[in-house]
């Protein structure tokens, strides 16, 4: 598993010739091996930007991003990164099974059929191996994306609002599923979410970010033992923490 170190990271985007947006400013963050982090914050505060920097899809304007002491590009090249972003990104012309073969093909390995079958079962898609994305519901596609992200036993899992497009019931179900999967693998995970309940339910540590430019406002270690259940969500202390974090998300001015 991987440790992540962001040191004095800022990110500025150029919009026009002399129009710039400071998306992140002076960000320091350390994530331990096997830790599940949730990033919470208003829309546009730079959550996706952080994931892009950690995934090596973008470069910081200042500061450094290190994964296991190395630049993220190294992790890319070693195929040790699993990502699943907001809208499922499955290849529409491939079946579920064939979509899960993709990471193997990119890694230049022969697809491990037994492993793929196991993952399909793990995310509850047994029986849908030969279905194409267009034949699946939104929740099922998202589960397929997560299964694909897990294919090569990544050291780092980056999830950007993976359940953002789902209804509340499916979402809760997916939260339970994700926890179950994560408990089996204990992969270092960063989850970006809008939903306070989701963050608290899933994470070891919740980071609350401020509006633009993004910086970390609060850091909360979640006290509830695992496995967390539907009952956990009914605890007084759970509601209390939800209210508390929701308050700090509201704009102060």
């Amino acid at each position: 598993m991987a440790t992540i170190q962001l040191t004095n990271v800022s990110k500025e985007f150029r919009l026009a010739r002399d129009k710039r947006v400071l998306a992140l400013s002076a960000m320091d963050l350390t994530i331990a091996e096997g830790e599940f982090i949730a990033l919470l914050g208003p829309s546009g505060c730079g959550k996706s930007t952080i994931l892009h920097l950690v995934a090596g899809l973008d470069e910081p304007s200042t500061g450094t991003v290190l994964v296991d002491g190395l630049p993220p590009k190294d992790l890319q090249a070693k195929q040790q990164l699993g990502i699943a972003f907001q809208e499922h990104a499955l290849l529409p012309w491939r079946t579920v099974e064939a979509n899960l073969e993709l990471p193997f093909q990119i890694a230049g390995r022969t697809p491990d059929r037994a492993h793929i079958a196991g993952l399909i079962e793990l995310v509850g898609l047994k029986g849908f191996e030969t279905a194409r994305p267009s034949q699946l519901s939104g929740g099922m596609r998202q589960r397929a994306s997560i299964a694909r992200a897990l294919c090569l036993d990544p050291k780092l899992l980056l999830l950007d609002e993976p359940f953002g497009a789902l209804d509340a019931v499916t979402r809760r179900f997916m939260n339970l599923e994700l926890q179950r999967i994560w408990q089996q693998k204990r992969i270092t995970t960063i989850l970006v979410t809008h939903t306070v309940e989701e963050a608290i339910f899933l994470a070891d540590r919740v980071l609350v970010m401020s509006g633009r430019p993004g910086r970390i406002l609060r850091e909360v270690t979640v006290p509830f033992p695992r496995p967390r259940t539907v009952e956990t969500m009914r605890l007084e202390a759970f509601h209390h923490l939800v209210d508390n974090l929701t308050l700090s998300l509201e704009p102060s001015d």
Binding site: Q76, A77, Q79, L81, L91, W93, P103, R132, S134
Partner: protein, 249 residues
């Protein structure tokens, strides 16, 4: 289902109306001596040796058009793939494609007759515009991959070649089919024009000879055959296009 039947019925109705107007215009000589009635043109097909001539010519022209389509599409796609793999070459290849497309076939025909021969000219004149069409279609198709998928490929360390193979090329298929659909008609026109420069056989030759000999119904019959072949191929690729779309939607 009823919707599709209804659509089909409307189309047939439209076709019948067109034929009826044609028939009326021909019988009343509204289009002068050069526009015969539909039945006069249709009766050409009942004459055995005429039908044989049209069939033979149709096969020759379709073969030229088909080979031209294949040649042009292959070269267009290969050029687009090259530009995608070696982006540094892309501006140069763009300019080449534009220049090739700007060559007027009327001016090119005689040159091709001398250099490539009478058989090859219809094929080449079909291939040239198809090359341009498919180069443009493939280039835009190869760039049409969803940005989320592009990110996924980058983050998982895909090489440029893997991206081309597993992402860009499959993403380009709908654009390629649209290009091919337009290419079919273009190739038929190119083949017919190419035949005018002196091909041994073909519908273009039939059209040219009948025009000179004032065999108006036969000329119209040949034109009708050209249009039917074009539209049939166009329709078939359209069907393929829709089935690809349905699989991906």
């Amino acid at each position: 289902m009823t919707n599709r039947l209804q659509q089909l019925a409307y189309r047939l109705l439209g076709l019948l109306l067109l034929l009826a107007l044609w028939q009326l215009a021909g019988k009343r000589h509204l289009g002068g001596k050069t526009l015969p009635a539909f039945t006069d043109v249709a009766s050409v097909f009942t004459v055995n040796f005429r039908r044989a001539l049209l069939l033979r010519s149709a096969i020759a022209t379709s073969t030229s058009a088909g080979l031209g389509l294949l040649l042009g599409a292959t070269l267009g796609c290969l050029t687009a793939l090259t530009a995608q793999l070696l982006p540094a070459l892309s501006p140069g290849l763009n300019r080449l494609a534009v220049v090739v497309n700007a060559l007027p076939s009327i001016a090119l025909g005689p040159v091709l007759i001398i250099t490539a021969g009478r058989q090859a000219t219809p094929i080449l004149l079909a291939a040239i515009p198809v090359f341009f069409l498919l180069y443009v279609a493939a280039t835009s198709g190869l760039h049409s991959a969803d940005s989320r998928l592009t990110q996924l490929f980058t983050a998982t360390g895909a090489t440029r070649f893997q991206r081309l193979r597993y992402l860009d090329t499959p993403s380009a298929i709908p654009a390629l089919l649209s290009g091919l659909k337009l290419g079919v008609t273009t190739a038929m026109i190119g083949a017919v024009v190419g035949e005018w420069f002196g091909a041994p056989t073909g519908l273009g030759i039939v059209i040219l000879n009948t025009m000179q000999n004032f065999q108006i119904p036969l000329m119209w019959a040949a034109v009708l055959v050209v249009a039917t072949i074009s539209l049939t191929a166009y329709g078939l690729i359209g069907v393929l296009e829709r089935s690809v779309e349905r699989r991906r939607a």
